[in-house]
Amino acid sequence: MKKLFILIVLTLFSHNLFADENLDKKAREINKKIRCVVCQSQSIDDSDSLLARDLRVLIKEKLKEGKNEKEITDYLVERYGEFILLKPRFNSKTYFLWLAPIIILLFGLFLIKGIFKKN
């Protein structure tokens, strides 16, 4: 009976431990995608600023509440704008940003092709 009790306690404890670990892992994944608006070139995962610390706590709290990554990033974008995302979303405001490298590459290829043809 005693052994069974210990087994149950250990099972429950390890379950909580793994749940916390998974939550931490998920929170860190999100933290790495969020820009620190104080330091700007760092993610909140790297930054030591007061706001970055608050945002890390907030993200973990939101995950505990059962919010998913999209809901959390939407909440932050609503407050800080798209700038808070280190990787901008693909939308009407960022079409040029995302497509410019492809356009420039194609333009370059045509240019090179033209030069080779002439020669």
């Binding site: 104080v38 608050d54 907030l58 974008v77 609503e78 407050r79 800080y80």
Partner: protein
């Protein structure tokens, strides 16, 4: 005609850099500009509430500050100056501060605020999209954010604020 592609590319890059680097206002705009004020529900310093119901029928300024913030000391005199030139309500949001230090600070420097909300956790700051203090928001009679000031309110900012307030009063 031989170098037309190269010339177009050079001009394009030059134009991008020229306009990008010459942008006068490099500060972050508030995502709430011209939108209603975000959620606010704080205990005030005088043990009542500072919430949405306090933002009705008048133009007011919301100022995020703390006693540990050095630029806030510089700003403090300018808040009195603003009130002298235009007697509007200023709500202070005390950001992650110690209440004893805040009380001492207000005793020493004076209190320009009509009400002070206590944001102990910083959540209200995040809800309002604050990225550093001091930071201030000008709110119109309908509770819409019309202007945001990142950093200290100084003489130059007072002039801008007075113009904005004047246009909101029309």
């Amino acid at each position: 005609m031989k170098y037309i592609g190269l010339i177009i590319t050079t001009i394009f890059i030059f134009v991008c850099f020229f306009f990008g680097l010459n942008k006068k206002d490099q500060t972050l705009k508030s995502a709430f500009l011209n939108k209603p004020i975000p959620e606010i529900n704080l205990n005030s310093l005088t043990n009542d509430k500072l919430d949405q119901s306090d933002f009705k029928n008048e133009i007011l300024l919301v100022n995020f500050f703390a006693s540990w913030c050095l630029p806030c000391i510089v700003e403090h005199d300018f808040l009195f100056e603003l009130k002298k030139q235009k007697p509007i309500k200023i709500y202070g949001i005390n950001y992650k501060d110690d209440i004893k230090n805040l009380k001492k600070w207000l005793e020493k420097l004076g209190n320009p605020y009509s009400k002070i909300g206590m944001d102990k956790t910083g959540i209200t700051g995040i809800n309002w999209g604050v990225n550093g203090i001091p930071e201030s928001f000008l709110i119109d009679k309908n509770g819409i954010i019309r202007h945001k000031i990142n950093g200290v309110i100084d003489e130059k900012q007072i002039k801008i604020l007075l113009k904005k307030i004047e246009s909101l009063e029309k």
